[in-house]
Homo-oligomer: 496 residues x 2
């Protein structure tokens, strides 16, 4: 608090910086629950945890080199007291690259590591778009084997399954930079500009269908708004080669996809290499017991300028809906691929690496939309009502007994009356309120108020007579019976 | 990578910013394990999780107001694109204050929340002194009841117990700002300067003993180096009052301490109030089943200019030793107290609050020193040796089977020979290496190498014949027996 010249204290306004969210109660547990489920999966596969600091030197982060005019472009950067620029990590791959380069000689190789935590991006915030969010990554550094790719895909699927997204609710689609190079070779695509136009066309298959892609591969396409996009100018034969590459049935088995691609790409150097890689990936996935949850889909063009081999991307098939029940689609919640340039920025030496990243914050939103967010179902504590200061020890003992039995419990410690305390218990989403009046204490009794029954009554559900008989709203029992009776209420089928 | 004028690429050096640590493997798990043990304790007591962003507006953080010349004093601060200064949180209390002030009207009150995560301090790093470390806090906002203080203390002890520091290995010492005010009143101490001198003298009891404190309360003290510290200049009677206040036996029960203090402080307004508070805290602790692990110790002078009521501070009694077996002392690993100014900076209104903070990073170091860090004991994965590319599916299936049985397992995915693979397995701290040569696969067999047995042989332990018989270094068994045999090795008593 600073004083203005006339001595009126100036009070700061209590507000969070733009793009940073506060989360309280069950909402704060969603991301934590996800990483607590994913971490044991990674560890079971032999991946080691790695924790690095929030800051990296800006030159080590690489992607965003700050300059004096605009040091914060994309990242949160500041100058250390020795004048060196540091920036908060914008993903978990850049710190891995720095760590691997720094410790390469002494690491067990291949080096399998996982990591999770917040990353920061200095971008314009918007609805559902934050400047701080969580990722959870697994990478294998130092293995050029396609089996390492297969492992990353199988782990991602095991993680999704552990989160409740098994049984066909999510698939991982696998493609390969080498296959794309093969089809470019087969179609006679030449030069960076034409390559880019073809890749962009392929990337639009989802949105424009085969017809639109055909136009973009040829002369060009006029969209509904009248804008014309110039095409790649391929010949009919070249276009057909690309279309054949893309026309793999979505539900086909992995080996069937390879059979379709072989005649198209087998004759090209890069395509043939890519096919051998995918055969090995298929073989490994099968050994891991992974069936149709992992598919080959040549149309996945994920950051192809970055990846050097296989690329993977999840697709959520679960029924996801917003709060109003309208269907919503979520983009890729886990994706990655093989990239060889990981440590080359530091050492000049290519090291093969492959990995995938879970967008934990987006995954949390997706689980909520799929009504699979178990954290959201967490109940509040049992609340012991405080009537009199003198009887505080009786309230405290009751709460202690419940906690010792593993039940969340607390004594109301404000100064409000009975009515406000009941309202408090309701707002805490308490299942039960414990009433220990002076008479009850003297008689060795306790009264339990079933707040779920109360909520049901308020919503009219409890008109059902059978239900009412099973759930008396309020009961006075022997004090010695407290834990058993509270457990019975908490474990009763929930009312919805 | 940037190019110099002569086109030699300039490569950044791979290094972490000063004061930020990398932690790999078991070391990376220590802090995570601690918060995963503390969080359920807090939740059982009815505390809700709260997550806020890493940044706060600098004016909201308050303690460190950046100016244009030196925005980074103590915190990591930077200017947002709207020119507002933001800073990374330096503790978890400041974000709570901002959040509580911002949401006070809509929060259930009293508001019990816990939080954990990294905090950042822009200070000079040194050995064991980092600029990023973890805290784990619990606070109750909106309750002036001493029972709320007792709850914080009891929870802290329950947390320490859950971490393996029960049974007298840690105590929490409780004092009170009000008691100190009482003794200052009883001793006739007046004015801010004299008060400060007396508090400083009390704070040195641990180091200088009663004799040194007596000198500092009186005329002053000459230390060994010849430096003279001017004393508070109290009269003999006043000094005696302070000494009586401090001469509570360290092992005394809480009620006995109150009996000693009553005649000294009962006559003062503030002291009498403080005694009533401590009586209630004692009563609540007793109801919670907390015995001598929570003590009253008037000599604890913890940030008294900040706290307004009870203060608490843990003392570790466990046998803590450094890597060379030398005893090491750890400062307070959990501490806190009651403070009423939490939201006043924002709202101008005092709201009673009480809480405690675990220094998670320091606690992790203490648990290691007490050899209680279970994360450090985590074993590496079982490693399946890769002999031939063709047999990869057989290796993958074996690893999958082990994982399905809950055993950490991986296939070696590098390109090195058998000897290097065994070295890799050893460096991963693998308990077992799985050998599936072509002959073994054909015969439906598998060979297990007990790497612990190998380590024991290397260290001479395995000369014990009985032990050797129980742990054959290498065994070839039926492939169908894989999981059982690996489990038997992993679960065998460890060799030290």
């Amino acid at each position: 608090m600073t004083d203005t010249p006339d001595n009126t204290p100036v009070r700061p306004e209590a507000r969070a910086p733009r793009g940073f969210a506060d989360r309280r109660g069950p909402e704060a547990l969603s991301e934590r629950r996800i990483v607590q489920i994913l971490a044991p999966v990674y560890e079971r596969w032999g991946f080691e945890p790695l924790e690095t600091g929030a800051f990296e030197y800006a030159d080590a982060l690489g992607k965003f080199l700050p300059d004096a005019d605009r040091p914060n472009e994309g990242v949160f950067a500041l100058q250390d007291d020795d004048e060196q620029w540091m920036a908060l990590r914008y993903d978990l791959t850049a710190p891995l690259a720095r760590y691997a380069a720094q410790n390469w000689e002494t690491l067990p190789k291949p080096f399998r590591r996982y990591a999770y935590g917040p990353v920061w991006r200095n971008e314009k915030p918007g609805p559902g778009r934050f400047r701080e969010f969580w990722q959870c990554d697994a990478d294998t550094v130092g293995s050029d084997r396609p089996e390492a790719d297969a492992e990353i895909v199988a782990m991602a699927l095991e993680g999704l399954d552990a989160l409740g997204l098994g049984d066909g609710q999510a698939v991982v689609k696998i493609a390969s930079r080498k296959l794309v190079n093969g089809v470019l070779e087969a179609a006679g695509v030449e030069g960076a500009a034409q390559t880019l136009t073809v890749l962009r066309a392929i990337d639009k298959l989802d949105r424009l269908g085969m017809e639109g892609v055909t136009l973009l591969l040829g002369e060009g396409r006029l969209d509904e708004s009248g804008d014309f996009t110039k095409g790649a100018g391929l010949t009919r034969a070249s276009i057909d080669a690309v279309l054949a590459f893309l026309s793999v049935p979505a539900e086909a088995e992995r080996s069937a996809v390879l059979n379709v691609l072989d005649p198209i790409l087998g004759g090209t150097r890069s395509g043939a290499e890519g096919l051998v890689d995918l055969q090995k990936i298929d073989r490994a996935l099968t050994a891991f017991g992974v069936g149709q949850a992992a598919r080959f889909d040549p149309a996945v063009v994920r950051g192809l300028e970055y990846y050097t081999g296989a690329v993977f991307e999840s697709e959520l098939l679960a029924d996801t809906r917003d709060e109003k029940g309208r269907p919503v689609r979520f983009g890729s919640i886990v994706g990655g691929g093989r990239y060889d340039g990981l440590v080359a920025r530091f050492t000049g030496q290519d090291v093969p690496a492959t990995g995938a990243s879970f967008g934990v914050s987006r995954l949390a939103a997706a689980l909520r939309a799929a009504r699979l967010d178990e954290a959201a179902a967490v109940r509040g504590p049992v609340v012991v009502i405080a009537f009199s200061d003198d009887d505080m020890p009786a309230y405290m003992s009751a709460a202690s007994e419940l906690r010792a039995a593993g039940i969340r419990a607390e004594v109301y410690l404000g100064r409000a009356g009975m009515k406000a305390q009941m309202k408090y218990a309701d707002r805490r989403n308490a299942p039960v309120a414990i009433l220990l009046g002076g008479d009850e204490i003297a008689a060795g009794q306790v009264t339990l108020k079933d707040l779920d029954a109360g909520r049901a009554a308020a919503s009219g559900i409890s008109d059902n007579e059978a239900w009412k008989a099973a759930r008396p709203g309020q009961q006075t029992i022997a004090r010695s019976d407290l834990v058993r009776a509270v457990k019975a209420i908490i474990e009763a089928p929930s009312i919805k």
